[in-house]
Subunit: 344 residues, 4 copies
């Protein structure tokens, strides 16, 4: 068994990773590091884990060598210390946005500051198995994925790889856990509850990840608008994809089946009838699935592609574990068997 | 004071109309007609009105003459008896879809059956004051509006009237009260709660109303996808409007202010900062406002227009009362003063 | 018309009072005072009021003389300046807890500090019309009410006044707006959403108000446990009242009808059948009603009394306006006509 | 591996059991029987299981022999055929209420009809391991548990076994999945959403199970009131337990630790500080835990005991699997490792 330690373990992605590590047959928990909660029991922040883990959060200084180190802290907080971390662990997964983009230029454009360790960018593999499965096998440094980016990329990729996309527009509906574990004015329950609140109305940082994932990222106009809705976990992405040729629902099935038919965590959901004929994020809480469905709007040459996932699992900790399974040569499903709940 | 009677008074739109009539200084309630609830007190269906109204639902046969008759039943149920109703009341408002479209051909295309009384179509005015204020003054036969149609039309109209629209795509997020007062499998709480469920994925009947409202309806490609989300009342429409020329946020302000600056129930909400800088339907429960906001996505020549309203008020009973105020020559605000609640 | 100014106008109770004042035929808004939001337009904090009020929050120093002054700030913030406020306005309503208790001793016991202006305590009338209607007529200094206290008092009072109560236990279920407009860890949406979180498990400050309201407060053992549940507005109180003699549902009807039959804002809701046969707070959002229902558990000599209200209206701003109507000799309903929404 | 078949597999408890069976290392799914959905794929009713199970629902007639048969249908539907089922399977778990009570008299009193197979009552063990662990080891016929009964029993049992209880009152807050998978008027989302709706106001059938579980059931007065609140999964029970002697929080800890300290699925949650210091059902969705907390109200000699669980897991399918693990001599944790989600 490998020992896995987590820096930034008190946050929501950190907590989800803890849950997955505890259920993973090849992993044991090393240290749970947290600046703000050092000294508290892990279950004080992650009450679902009460009785499942006896660890206490430790301060960053206490970090020791381990087999796998996961950096789950906020964006921009770990990159500067990457050399130091690399000394402590032969395998690093950084869930933050720091090593997702391959180009220092794209990073600066997206995040508004120069990358502190640009020499590290090319050493990292972007941790989305559906995109880089072969590169992930045996890799030692892997980035996390943006939760919204994952929903957008997985919805668009099959059509983009076929060169079919004339224009794509992502309309996102997201849950409150995307904002992290720290309360703020916009997460105040009386305000956040039941709302449909537009944000990132004309651009979203995660588009840079989507563009990087596409075969000819420069050529396809992408636009995005996000909405915070009543939901804790979950991203629902409606990708309105205008194609450059006539198509049909049957052809959509063909394209998506070809790309995703063998994927262990993608399910195609596009039934003709029944209640659950399209993806719905609420079924996926806790699961590593990304459900994808579609419909064909012939009159507008528009493929409406729906993707749904749990932002903390497939959009963060779950993709990381799936990547780690590939890094270590294990069965890709290990530790990721939870199917989600219904009703929920 | 005029006497107003309602056929189909036990449904949600009927109940909302009852609430508005009870608070209207120029109206008094005549009869509340319901096939399914005849004999029950009105508050059995509309418990908020307990103590505010002592009426009992009466059977359709009991309908008597009145000054204003509102048909609030389901689509296709009243059109055949329109001649009979016209004998009983000099003013008729039909909230159903039966008299919204001016063309029998468009009706048949949209609703899949020939219109039973096509000769009546041209006698009705479409009851959206923002569109037909002058025609509504003194009118005697007025149709209701589609709730989603209203959100789409009001979002698109100003730009369409300026001839600026190259393509428009409506991404709708709607509450469960849109489905009416009768329970069904899809409204079962464990299934409906917390979901983001796509429906009307490539077309929506209400598009016919939107097309009819536009100056050159045939020329602009319109597409739509709707999503049932966790919300009881409310429609949030995100209109992604691709323009045929370069523009700016300032110019958007100009267009919307010009069109809506004098509208009594449209508020422009597009602040630079603050929590509530775009429209949010939850603030509008019970209110006749339609809030409209926008952002400019220069890179895609995309105006992102947000409209939000209460489907039972501005999307149904409220627009009807506003139209009735115009029909009767009253102040357009009468009975519609409730501003909505915050927090809610 | 009287001019009413509000100190602490940016909070939730302040916002609700603003809404009520704007719809009140005998009141006009003077100043909206806020320390934290001075200089901002009122609708920045109360977005429902956009277009309904053009005022800007002013700093405390700017407060001028007015006919009615409402102190809507937090507990303990205004009492020290009460003499100063009394110079500015002939009528004062203090919504905080500062002047609710008549005894300085009870205040100190409940709030853990000596009252800064004990000499003022007896000049205030507790602002619950169902309790002190006659004293409120013509009164000049009136306190607000605790929202949970109101739900408890109104549930228990009729039985207590009859001397029937052996023991009463209040199990409260409350919405998140009770915590006020400032975000904190416990109001963080991912944590607060969907929870059933016990708090005030063995005591609640508002019990002091309930005890004061009862005829022989010392004699009846009262206990309380509160739960934060998924709801923004609303208090649902289940009063489990063990009686000292055999009783019946019919007798319960008798007692409650006798006490509340003439009350303008209390509705008895205890039907034998139907969906809405007991009080439900969600119907009451925005309304000044307190709905009260009951059932008789013969085997345990237990009257189960349900009370439901909107904590920001009947539990705060609405009771204040109702009291003000009495203070000024106006119709008790003025400004309080909104019946609530269904569905909601 | 043993083969387990389910009759009534399309319902919510059936679906939850399917999920647990699929993750259980010693079980394989035999048949999923459903009268109403025969012929449909299992994932049509249980969309979370898409890709996890390829089975199709079969008609009752098709039921074949199996190692374990679970009857998950509604109350009163299977009892008459129990002899027939007993021929097909050496082990039977009946999740319905049919074999929960040991006395035919109590059954008739509670369910209003004579038991169709009273001779079978004593052959069944009540399937709550915390109550009957030793009897369950090697048992062949086991009943399910009432979800609310489980919450009440587990809250009260430790104090009752010590003979400390003078009177207990259960105030229940429950989610909508308790009503099952079939939609009805009361489960209509616009009505059910956000409500606090009292039901079973003075009695609840599950009290019979609680009484049966207590050492001297006749002596302790029990009362109950239930409330449907905004929640899909989950029961929160607040047991207000008046004791017959003085006590302390420390003594409560003693009693509960003694009774439950070794229980694999009961966690004591009664912290002095922190957000999650008492049980909350939302953390437990999907988990077999029952969390129990308490506080001591000295002035009223009242122990406030909080229990929370997932009605479909610990309140139904999870307790059944836990019982089956005992019946088969397996580790009690098998298949029940999911810890729940946070945030959720």
């Amino acid at each position: 068994m490998l020992t896995l330690s987590i820096v930034g373990a008190a946050g929501y992605a950190g907590g989800e990773l803890l849950r997955l590590v505890l259920g993973h047959p090849e992993l044991q928990l090393g240290q749970a590091i947290s600046t703000s909660h050092a000294g508290s029991p892990v279950h004080a922040c992650h009450p679902n884990l009460r009785g499942h883990v006896r660890a206490t959060f430790e301060a960053p200084d206490a970090l020791q060598a381990c087999d796998v180190l996961v950096l789950a802290g906020g964006h921009g907080t770990h990159a500067e210390r990457i050399d130091e971390y690399a000394q402590l662990a032969p395998r690093i997964l950084d869930l933050s946005a720091d090593f997702r983009l391959r180009s220092a230029e794209a990073y600066e454009q997206t995040y508004g500051r120069p990358h502190p360790k640009p020499e590290w960018l090319e050493r990292f593999v972007y941790g989305l198995p559906e995109l880089h499965r072969e590169q992930l096998r045996g890799a030692t440094h892997v980035s996390g994925v943006g939760c919204n980016a994952t929903a957008m990329t997985l919805a668009l990729l099959p059509l983009a790889r076929q060169g079919l996309v004339e224009r794509a527009l992502f309309d996102l509906k997201v849950g409150s856990s995307e904002g992290g574990a720290v309360s703020r004015e916009s997460s105040h329950h009386p305000e956040r509850s039941g709302t449909v609140r537009p944000y990132a109305t004309t651009d979203h940082r995660h588009l840079a990840e989507v563009r990087q994932a596409l075969p000819d990222s420069g050529d396809v106009p992408l636009s995005v608008t996000a909405h915070a809705i009543e939901m804790v976990r979950g991203v629902a992405c409606t990708a309105h994809v205008f194609l450059n040729e006539d198509f049909s629902e049957r052809q959509l099935w063909g394209v998506f089946r070809e790309h995703y038919g063998a994927e262990p965590f993608i399910r195609l959901v596009a039934a003709k009838s029944g209640q659950h004929r399209y993806p719905e994020p609420k079924l996926l809480a806790g699961s590593n699935h990304c459900d994808i469905g579609f419909a064909w709007d012939a009159g507008n040459r528009r493929a409406v592609v729906f993707s749904a996932l749990d932002n903390l699992v497939k959009g963060a900790a779950g993709s990381a574990v799936q990547s780690l399974n590939l890094m270590c040569g294990w069965d890709e499903h290990l530790g990721l068997g939870f199917p989600g709940l219904h009703p929920n």
